[in-house]
Symmetry: C2
């Protein structure tokens, strides 16, 4: 292990766009002097960075919902940390701010894209998970796009993940029958026993189509898709009349070097008058507060549970990132990059 | 040519479900005695049958929005004809009825699924075209599912066809920029010069992707899809934010013996917060009258044009049916099966 001088700001920099799964040539560690605050700025000492499947899209050189991360720029990421210097009228030293700090230990910012959170009520990590971007995605995806109604059958892929776990619990709160899809018996047990789903299909060990037949005998009213590929096709095949497919992600396709696999069964949307609709959580920014209050309430009532998988050390960014795609994590994946020197 | 006795009811019967494109083994001609009316029934002498791509789906042995046509049953089809005998309180001899008579020269019915039309205002054939199922599909597809707004860019595949031609003209009436996709220079000229579209991409002779770039430089707000396959993918690639894809059909895929080609670019729906939604016109039955009145008005004002390709003779059902898929027709395809003996 290289020893870094204690007064440096370690950053993860995008070096090269990967063809498939990112590897050691994708990012590198850079050291910069720790910034100081200009007038109107704060310095945030980052504690946690959020690792999200969407990051794979952000390093792809193509038009998308936000511009790609540039080569030699700090890797984009959601962060949470503490203000250690302030020349900003609204923020004081000691405030905890969540925002888009990127994978770096210290951030100089005018505060745009950062907001103060209350860590007396819930731990800091929740603001990157169930009360952060994944939670908001789940909330607006299942309610606004999925338009779930009491008594409906809801199927959720990536059910043990940061988004799927919350989406499914919200559907349970709203009176739906909720079936998850997750990889392996341990995750499936977590989804049913801890999160309270009505059932969970282990896609690594059983046929998803058979599982859907068993758990959703009347078919699926809402399918919340985090994975794409064959699982999306299996769900489309069992869509009920006026069914809705919420397109939240397609993690099975993100590291493809071949063309993406389109849903062969998309004509189920025609036959069943179905809707397949995409969602980008940023569109709901004005309603984050409303959603946060409601979800916070559910958390305090014990109705909404969430878990984090936390790894340590900014130098472990790559192996931690890979856990997004190899299934070696549960709930929200975070990296603790706090400068402990 | 076989000479049939003049007092028989000729019918087209489903003999065998085809693997790909239907052929001589798919249907056969059957003769039955001409029926007489039981109490509460009418006998309709059929003049025209409607030939629609959806028919290919109706002879497939799988769960769909209506049960498949059974083997040895009369082939399902929309029809129009004249009442020649009535023991029904609501219908009189001479009334012209449109409905689901099937491919047969005489129909005995209690009137269910048949309704009286006024052939003083518009010719009989329009009730199977622009004022029939294809027109209704276009109307509700482009307005209710597509939710077109003035100033938007609308792309329509199958633009010279029975549905696409009407959908595009409605979008023009509503103030959209409308681009068609059709096969061959003659059809494209028809779409632009006769129907008033702003442009038309000849998919047989040019690249659809390039054509979309040229004609829709800002992208597509609404894509009305009648064809599926590569054209659907090209359209998805150029979908604008909050774009809508109306799934009306997938004629490029109907005779596939291989699995259907799913839309590789479906994640454009995610990135662009798009919606892809299917439509089955029967769901709008309660609003056919409202739509018919509005479209009839547009027709009389010269804003909505329609054309029919009419072939003759029930024995020509198969070669006429094939014209749905080989592009050898314009507008609505009809078969005149009137018993002229």
């Amino acid at each position: 292990m290289v020893a870094y001088p204690c007064n440096m700001n370690k950053q993860i920099i995008l070096k090269q766009r990967p063809a498939g799964l990112p590897d050691a040539s994708t990012w590198s560690l850079r050291e910069q002097p720790i910034p100081t605050a200009a007038e109107g700025q704060v310095i945030i000492k980052t504690h946690y960075v959020s690792l999200d499947p969407a990051m794979r899209g952000w390093i792809r050189d193509q038009k998308s919902y936000i511009p790609p991360v540039e080569i030699d720029a700090v890797m984009r990421a959601g962060t949470i940390g503490t203000v250690i210097e302030s020349r900003h009228p609204k923020f004081a030293v000691g405030d905890v701010l969540s925002g888009w700090g990127g994978v770096q230990q210290y951030i100089a910012t005018d505060g745009e894209g950062h907001f103060k959170v209350d860590t007396n009520l819930v731990p800091m990590t929740k603001y990157l998970g169930a009360l952060g971007m994944p939670g908001m995605t789940a909330y607006f995806g299942i309610l606004d796009v999925g338009k779930i109604k009491e008594g409906e059958t809801v199927l959720i892929s990536g059910a043990a993940g940061a988004v799927g776990s919350v989406a499914g619990q919200i559907a349970k709160i709203k009176g739906c029958t909720v079936i998850g899809i997750a990889g392996g018996p341990e995750k499936c047990a977590y989804v049913v026993d801890q999160l309270g789903f009505d059932g969970c299909i282990d896609y690594k060990n059983t046929s998803v189509s058979k599982g859907i037949k068993e758990y959703c005998p009347k078919g699926i009213d809402v399918y919340f898709d985090n994975v794409g590929g064959e699982i999306l096709d299996a769900a489309l095949a069992k869509l009920r009349m006026y069914g809705r497919v919420v397109l939240c992600g397609a993690i099975s396709q993100y590291n493809n070097t071949e063309p993406i696999q389109g849903p062969t069964n998309y004509l189920s949307l025609l036959v069943n008058r179905g809707v397949m609709q995409g969602l980008i959580v940023f569109d709901y920014a004005k309603r984050y507060r409303e959603a946060g209050l409601e979800m916070g309430q559910w958390m305090m009532e014990g109705k909404l549970k969430s878990e984090e998988t936390i790894k340590e050390g900014i130098e472990n960014f790559l192996p931690t990132f890979k856990k997004l795609f190899n299934g070696q994590k549960k709930g929200k994946l975070l990296l603790d990059i706090l400068d402990k020197s």
